[in-house]
Each structure stands twice: as structure tokens, then as C-alpha cells.
Assembly symmetry: C2
Homo-oligomer: 152 residues x 2
């Protein structure tokens, strides 16, 4: 595989969540691995009208889109924010969505070049990293959660 | 399996994250499915000393622990917040940790009784729900991310 180009347009990143957890996640990632370039977030409130959510997502996409396409990370499948993200599949841009956003996905994005790959390829990587990151403390350390019976 | 008891102590829930995304996630879940009982969050700042993080996590655990044990959801494995959570495996309480917290885990906790099971059993359910929730928009809708080449 040729090395990823170091300049030119990169896939833009938009984190779309209920409330401001997307902004919090980007801030947390920035603190741990440095600010992620070409990234922004959309905070959806339960009182927002669906049309307004679509407009907010569109505006965010426009802000970070430099022609290489968009990766959208949404908090949960099925709710209004996700459905607003689906409106971005309008044929005018290359887009992929990953649902179930968590911090390890954003940390991974610090080391994945968004210049060498399209949104679909990056999304596959981020999906696998997100799934693998969900682990139990007992698995990771060999420590055992005391069963309920023994605890009493 | 007998029905879960409707009263008595329930497993406490603590969401521990870099910055305030844990608080945002609990607020988002409350808006979607109602407030989760016996739950709280810890916001860790990068400047916090490790001992202070341990104390914050201990205080949060104490707040929601009614004797049935604790389920801790941490944002990422390996960093200080996670290591502070490990200090809760001190043999005095029944604890399990799930790393890689996302919103679908909290939504699931609205329908899982934390009275009938211990932290280890609930954590296994939440881990699987979290993993399954990480999906691509194209998988969920049949829409295809245009490949990078075709986009230009």
C-alpha cells in the first residue's frame, strides 16, 4: 500500500450526539492526543425540530468538508440525530456514518490518515476499533467481580 | 429464571470519563428513557492528580452503592480514569468495569433490572449491547458511501 499523502484534502469528521457529549469527546481526545484536524460536533437537543437538526448537521459537514468526503460519528442508531445524518447520503458527497461513538474511536482517528482513504474505509477501521475497545475490567486485569451472593 | 425483584438494593452505576462526557451521556439517556436511578458520573480533568481521581471515583461509588455492588462504565482502557476505577477492586465491594462507554449502553440500562443480577452479569449484557450498537450507516440503511474515486 502506498504511504498516505501528507497534504491535500482529508476526510472531514463530524460527531453528532444528543446533548454536548460529542463536543466533550472531541475535547477529551484533544487533551490526550492533540486536536483532531478537520473535526467538529453537533449537539442536538430533544426540543430541536428535525429540519433544524438536518440544517445543523449540514452546516457542520460543510465546515469540515474539503472534498475528500465525510465521516460522521453518531451516538445511537435510530434517533433523530442519526436520521438527520442519513440526509447527508444525498449523492452530493462521499459519506459514511458510524453509530455508537466512543472515545477510543476518536483516539484512533489521531493515527489514521484521513487523506489516503475514503470515508467507507476509515469507517470500517473505526467500527472495529470501537467494538474491540469495549472490554471488561476483569478481562483486562484478571481481577474478578465478586458474585452477588459472596458479597453479602 | 425468577422475575427480578422490584425493591431492595440495586447495583449502582458510575460513569467515569475524561472531561464531562459521562455527565452528558447520563443527561442524554435521561432525556430519551428517563433518569437512570442510582447513577452518577465522575469528570476527570487532565490536571487532576491520580490520588484525587481515586478519591472522586470512591466518593461517586459510595454515593450510589446500596450494597448490591457497582457497575462502572469508563471511557477508555489504560488511562488514569480507568486505573482509578481499578482501585475499586479492593475486595470490599462487588464491582465490574466496562470500558468504551457509549450511549446505547446507558439506554439498555433503563430496561435491565439492576436488582436481579450482580455487576458481573449486568456488565456482560452491557458489553454485548455496546459492541452490537457500533454499526455503519450503510449497513443499517443499504445506502452506499461513494468511493473516493467516484466522488471526484
Amino acid at each position: 500500500m502506498p504511504p498516505a499523502p501528507e497534504s491535500g484534502p482529508q476526510v472531514g469528521l463530524v460527531v453528532v450526539t444528543h446533548g454536548s457529549s460529542g463536543a466533550c469527546l472531541l475535547t477529551a481526545a484533544a487533551g490526550l492526543v492533540g486536536p483532531l484536524p478537520a473535526s467538529t460536533s453537533v449537539s442536538v437537543e430533544l426540543t430541536d425540530r428535525f429540519d433544524d437538526i438536518v440544517r445543523q448537521v449540514e452546516r457542520a459537514c460543510h465546515e469540515v468538508d474539503s472534498g475528500a468526503g465525510l465521516l460522521i460519528l453518531a451516538d445511537i442508531h435510530g434517533a433523530s440525530p442519526f436520521r438527520a445524518c442519513l440526509a447527508m447520503f444525498d449523492g452530493t458527497r462521499s459519506v459514511e456514518i458510524v453509530c455508537g461513538v466512543n472515545l477510543p474511536m476518536l483516539i484512533k482517528l489521531a493515527t489514521v490518515s484521513r487523506r489516503g482513504m475514503g470515508p467507507g474505509e476509515i469507517a470500517e477501521i473505526i467500527k472495529e476499533v470501537g467494538k474491540r475497545s469495549i472490554r471488561l475490567g476483569s478481562e483486562l486485569t484478571g481481577k474478578i467481580a465478586l458474585p452477588r451472593e459472596e458479597h453479602h
